[in-house]
Every structure is written in structure tokens, then in C-alpha cells.
């Protein structure tokens, strides 16, 4: 019995550990999606955040400064995408593809320039842990995630800013005719998306791991996009979705004990995402203007 408990505990705690970056990215994706912008660039924002957090931690030897650096870099690359989409009406999917390519090539390139290594960065100090009952040692960022999710729920559903944000996602033309500065809100939402995904990336490299490696996010940004749909673009919904997908990620770690090919195990999170998107999330209504650019007046 004690053994079973121990296994359950280990799965749960690794599900949470793996779920944190997914949920953080998904939380960022909610702001973007609610503003009518497809969160295609999440992957690139997370990767940028991951690299920058490692870099600033490496330079200052202080993971908190690294965390800040990761978040700000995530925000900057998000705003670059935001300008192309909001100001210049770029196709949202292609904009995201470009941003993701830029982040992938850019981080790999900088890694070689800064550390002269193609594979991974040197080890860096990590953020501290806090001790909780049942879960054991958990990351401080887990606490940040929960606070951010609750705060986002209040912001999106209980404030007038949130009402305007949701209206833009549903009907930007009507929002504009009501005198709402739609672009300003879209830029703010994009910046928040970048901050949160930067945080997600930072978590991966200066908390979960203690280094940056080539393409460390490996599609986590796209999985976060799926969590947005599964969680119905609701900040509290994505917490549950984050744990679910975290469990899928954790499953591959647990199963490593058995004699199963590593490559097959690596498929699990992607396969789970595919199955969930195809079979489990029918009738989820996305914000009506998601993916569509509206002409300026």
C-alpha cells in the first residue's frame, strides 16, 4: 500500500512539475486568443524566455534576475509578433511560424556565440523550492502560476478591461464602434502573453533543469495552445488542463524504468495532445474573431 501511495505521489508531483510550464504558456495564450490573436508564437516566446533566463542567470549568477530577463525577453519577441500582426495585419499563423523559426535559430546561434557549445549551456544556479505537504518540495513558480491564474480569472471575467478584451475577441468592429481602443488592448494582451510564456520558458531552464539545451521547449508551446482549447480559454480551466498534459509528459518519465524505447515514450505527450484535440474538445467555441485580422478604419 505504501508503495502504491509512493508511486501515485511521484506521478502526481511530476505531473505538476511538468504541467507548470504548459499551464503558464497556456495562460499567456488565453490573453492572446481572447484578443483575437492566434497564440502560434507561444513556442518561440517560451524558447526565447528559456534561453534568456539561462543567459542572465549565467551572467549575474542570480536566478531571480534570470527569471526577470526571461520574462522581459519573452515579452519583447511577443511584441515583435504583435506589431507585425496588429499594425501590419500579417497572417497570424505565418507570423507565428516566423517567430518560432527566429527563436529556434536565434537561440541555437546565440548558444554557440555565448557558450561555444552546440548542445547545451553550462550549469546555472536554480530558483529555490518551497516545501508543501503531500507534494513535497515544489517550485516557487508553481505558487506564482496559481496566483497568476486566479488573478487572470478576475481580470478577464470581473473587470471592465476583461470585458473589453473579450469583446475584441468576439467582435472587434463592434468593440471599436463602442469607442474601445482595440489596438492598445491587443498590444497589452500580447505583452502579457509574452511575459507569461517567458516565465514558462524560464521555469524549464532555471528551475526544472539547471541549463539550456537546443530546442529545450520541443513543442511545449503548441501543447499549451491545445490546453487553451481544452480549458475553454478560461484561466482556471487551463490549470486542470496543465496537470492533465503534465501527467502525459510525466508518464514518459515514469515508464522509462521499463524496457521501452525512448523514442516511443517521447511520442506520448504529442499523441495525447492529438487525441485530446480530435476527440475530447468538440464544441469548444473559440473567440469568434480568433485568427482574423480586421482592417483599420
Amino acid at each position: 500500500m505504501a508503495e502504491v501511495m509512493a508511486v501515485i505521489q511521484s506521478i502526481l508531483s511530476s505531473a505538476i512539475r511538468m504541467g507548470v510550464p504548459l499551464a503558464l504558456g497556456a495562460l499567456g495564450g488565453i490573453y492572446s486568443s481572447r484578443a483575437g490573436i492566434v497564440a502560434m508564437g507561444l513556442e518561440g516566446m517560451m524558447l526565447t524566455g528559456a534561453f534568456s533566463a539561462t543567459y542572465f542567470t549565467y551572467v549575474t549568477n542570480n536566478p531571480w534576475i534570470g527569471l526577470l530577463g526571461g520574462m522581459i525577453s519573452g515579452m519583447l519577441i511577443a511584441l515583435l509578433e504583435g506589431i507585425l500582426i496588429i499594425r501590419f495585419k500579417m497572417d497570424q499563423v505565418i507570423g507565428g511560424v516566423g517567430i518560432n523559426l527566429l527563436a529556434l535559430g536565434g537561440t541555437n546561434l546565440l548558444m554557440q556565440v555565448v557558450w561555444d557549445n552546440r548542445g547545451k549551456s553550462p550549469l546555472v544556479p536554480t530558483l529555490g523550492k518551497v516545501r508543501l505537504p503531500i507534494l513535497g518540495n515544489v517550485s516557487i513558480i508553481l505558487a506564482l502560476l496559481i496566483i497568476a491564474a486566479v488573478a487572470s480569472w478576475v481580470l478577464i471575467y470581473k473587470t471592465s478591461w476583461g470585458l473589453r478584451l473579450r469583446l475584441i475577441g468576439e467582435n472587434p468592429i463592434e468593440a471599436r464602434s463602442l469607442g474601445i481602443n482595440t489596438k492598445k488592448i491587443q498590444y497589452t494582451a500580447t505583452a502579457l502573453c509574452g511575459l507569461l510564456s517567458g516565465l514558462a520558458g524560464a521555469y524549464m531552464c532555471i528551475d526544472q533543469l539547471d541549463f539550456f539545451s537546443r530546442n529545450v521547449t520541443a513543442g511545449r508551446g503548441y501543447i499549451a495552445m491545445s490546453i487553451d482549447i481544452l480549458g475553454r480559454y478560461n484561466p482556471l480551466g487551463i490549470l486542470a488542463g496543465g496537470i492533465l498534459f503534465g501527467a502525459a509528459d510525466a508518464l514518459q518519465v515514469v515508464l522509462q524504468k521499463f524496457d521501452i524505447s525512448g523514442q516511443l515514450l517521447q511520442i506520448i505527450p504529442y499523441m495525447v495532445t492529438l487525441l485530446v484535440i480530435v476527440f475530447a474538445v468538440k464544441h469548444v467555441k473559440a473567440p469568434a474573431s480568433l485568427g482574423k485580422n480586421v482592417e483599420d478604419e
Partner: protein, 347 residues
């Protein structure tokens, strides 16, 4: 945008991307001019360099063509990478494990299987979208990852040939594309691509199906009112797009590497999106943009070996190409500015 303006935009975007490349080289401590000189020498300097560049360009061109067809019907096929893997692995299995067939039967059979499998894998995305309402971006990316790891599993496990390298057995001679040049090898896959390009150009321009694709891509509602079975046209076009990507993968196996080598793709699917953007989504332009990127890639491999310039600068250049050419309004502002200046000058 007029044709001449479109051309100016492409030249401008290319210039900006190469400029970014130059900044990267100075960051690495190299003079940009000598770095570009080394790259173009590495890509064009001698016979083997030219052939390497052509080989690279050929594969990228398949991907670019596949992407263009999907965009024409209004679907952004970002599942090219997965479809290419399907074509490559199917070509490997049928090419290496069927014995005793003559070339005239074996090779066409292998190519046909690769085309069908990868086409189906591509249209799976459209099917899941139409039947289950599944978000096509997410399904495409997940199918990419799944196939990347699944093929990797196969060549690390059941299909692995003895030795340290994770790779499959060699495909049989009866399934190998002949070489146009023997040393270094230049595959006749280039001829397949040439025929394919002419075929697609003709289909898009002169056939009813091509017309249906165009109308569907431009305006779904109008297409439907005009009596076009939009869903069917979309699935068929995505099938073709996936099949072209898969054929590219098959050519790598049957004509370039001779087998499935683990991790052979340096992101060819994404290269396709970049060259298609650089070509302004033109089927003929795709040939030239693929050639340019092929030269850059082959040259980059060389300077990566000789000088310590990170290969990944290519990916950054591609990203800039996608971000600039994918965003036409960026240049409209510049044009307006220039036209205003000229207008004032005349007064």
C-alpha cells in the same frame, strides 16, 4: 501589388535577411564580406560544391512546391515535415525489404506507395478538421512530432542495421534512382521535380481542378455558391501537397542518402515555407528561391566546418524571410514613403 513591385519587395526582403546574416557574422567575429564569400565559394566553388547545393536545393524545392499548393487552396500546410518523414520511411521499407523485382516495377511501386502514404497523412489533417473540427495547426504539428519520433524509433529499433549509426538498411538497387552525375552523386530526383513542377504549373493554370483550387483558396463562400465541392477540393489539394512533401522524403532515401538515416532532416519542412515565401508563392519562382537557399545551406555546412560560423544562422535568415515576405504591408509603407518623395521631387 503589381508584378514589378512584388519583385522589388522580394529583392528588398532578401537584402534585409542577408544584412541580418552580416550582423550575425560580425557578432561571431568575422568580416561579413569574407564570410559571404566563403559561403558562396562553399556552395558554388567547385563541381562537388555545386552538386551539393543542387542536392539541397532539390529537396527544399519539393517542400516549397508542396507548401505553395496548400496555400493556393487556402490551407497552410505546416505538416510538411511529418509528411516528408512518412514518404521517407515508406520508401525505405518498400525499397529495402522487397526483393526480386525488376527496377521498372520496383521503383515505381516504391514511389507510388510513398506518394499515397504521405498524401493520406497530409489529408488526415484536413479530414480531422472537417470531421471533428480539430484545429489544423495543432494536429499538423503533433503529427510532425509523432512521425519524427516514430521513424526515429524504427531506425533505432526494428529497422536498425548493425553498427553504431542509427540508420536503416540500404535500399535495393532496383529501388534506387539513377544518378545524373556519379561522383559526387547527383540524383535524378531533380528530373522528377522538374516534371512535377511543369505538371503542377499546368494543372493550376489550365485545368478545371486548378481553377477550383484557386477559387476555393480565394473565397470559399464564392466557390461554394459557384457549385464547387469545397471540402473535396481542399482534401484533394492537401493530399497533393502532402504527397509532394512525401515524394521529397522518398527522393532523399532513394536518391541522396540511399537509406533512412536518423535525424536526416534539418527542418526541410520549414525550409519549404521559407522558399515559398521568397518565391512570392510562385511555382516557377520556387525553383530560384530553392536554388538560392540550397547554395546558402551547402555553403553554410562548409563554413561551419572550416570557420566556426554556426550553421544556425541559416535558420535566422529564413525566419527573417518569412517574417518580411509574409507581411506585405510592411513594404507598402516604404513604397508610399518613396512615392511621396518622388512626387514632391517632381513638383
Amino acid at each position: 501589388m503589381s508584378k514589378s513591385k512584388k519583385f522589388v519587395v522580394i529583392v528588398l526582403a532578401l537584402f534585409i535577411s542577408l544584412l541580418v546574416g552580416a550582423v550575425i557574422f560580425s557578432m561571431c567575429g568575422y568580416s561579413p564580406i569574407s564570410a559571404y564569400e566563403a559561403i558562396f565559394k562553399g556552395g558554388l566553388g567547385n563541381k562537388s560544391a555545386v552538386i551539393n547545393s543542387l542536392s539541397q536545393a532539390m529537396i527544399i524545392a519539393f517542400m516549397g512546391l508542396a507548401y505553395i499548393i496548400s496555400i493556393r487552396v487556402g490551407v497552410c500546410n505546416i505538416g510538411l515535415e511529418g509528411q516528408m518523414y512518412v514518404g521517407a520511411i515508406v520508401a525505405t521499407i518498400f525499397g529495402a525489404y522487397i526483393k526480386g523485382l525488376p527496377l521498372v516495377i520496383h521503383l515505381p511501386l516504391v514511389l507510388a506507395m510513398a506518394i499515397i502514404a504521405s498524401g493520406l497523412y497530409g489529408s488526415l489533417i484536413a479530414f480531422l478538421k472537417i470531421r471533428f473540427g480539430a484545429n489544423e495547426i495543432i494536429t499538423a504539428i503533433m503529427l510532425n512530432f509523432i512521425m519524427e519520433y516514430f521513424t526515429s524509433y524504427l531506425v533505432n529499433g526494428p529497422l536498425k542495421v548493425a553498427g553504431t549509426v542509427a540508420q536503416s538498411e540500404k535500399v535495393r538497387d532496383s529501388a534506387t534512382l539513377f544518378y545524373l552525375v556519379k561522383t559526387p552523386k547527383l540524383s535524378s530526383g531533380i528530373l522528377i521535380f522538374a516534371v512535377l513542377t511543369m505538371l503542377m504549373f499546368f494543372v493550376m493554370k489550365y485545368t478545371k481542378f486548378g481553377y477550383q483550387i484557386r477559387v476555393t483558396g480565394e473565397n470559399k463562400l464564392a466557390a461554394e455558391t459557384g457549385g464547387i465541392a469545397v471540402g473535396k477540393v481542399m482534401i484533394m489539394a492537401v493530399f497533393i501537397s502532402g504527397a509532394i512533401a512525401g515524394l521529397g522524403g522518398a527522393v532523399i532515401v532513394l536518391g541522396v542518402n540511399g537509406r533512412f538515416i536518423d535525424g536526416f532532416s534539418s527542418g526541410y519542412g520549414w525550409d519549404g515555407i521559407a522558399v515559398a515565401s521568397l518565391a512570392g508563392l510562385s511555382i516557377i519562382g520556387n525553383i530560384f528561391s530553392a536554388l538560392l537557399l540550397g547554395i546558402l545551406k551547402a555553403g553554410a555546412t562548409v563554413v561551419n566546418r572550416t570557420a566556426k560560423i554556426p550553421y544556425d544562422f541559416i535558420v535566422v535568415i529564413q525566419a527573417i524571410i518569412v517574417l518580411t515576405l509574409g507581411c506585405p504591408r510592411l513594404f507598402e509603407g516604404i513604397f508610399r514613403f518613396v512615392e511621396n518623395k518622388i512626387g514632391k521631387g517632381r513638383k
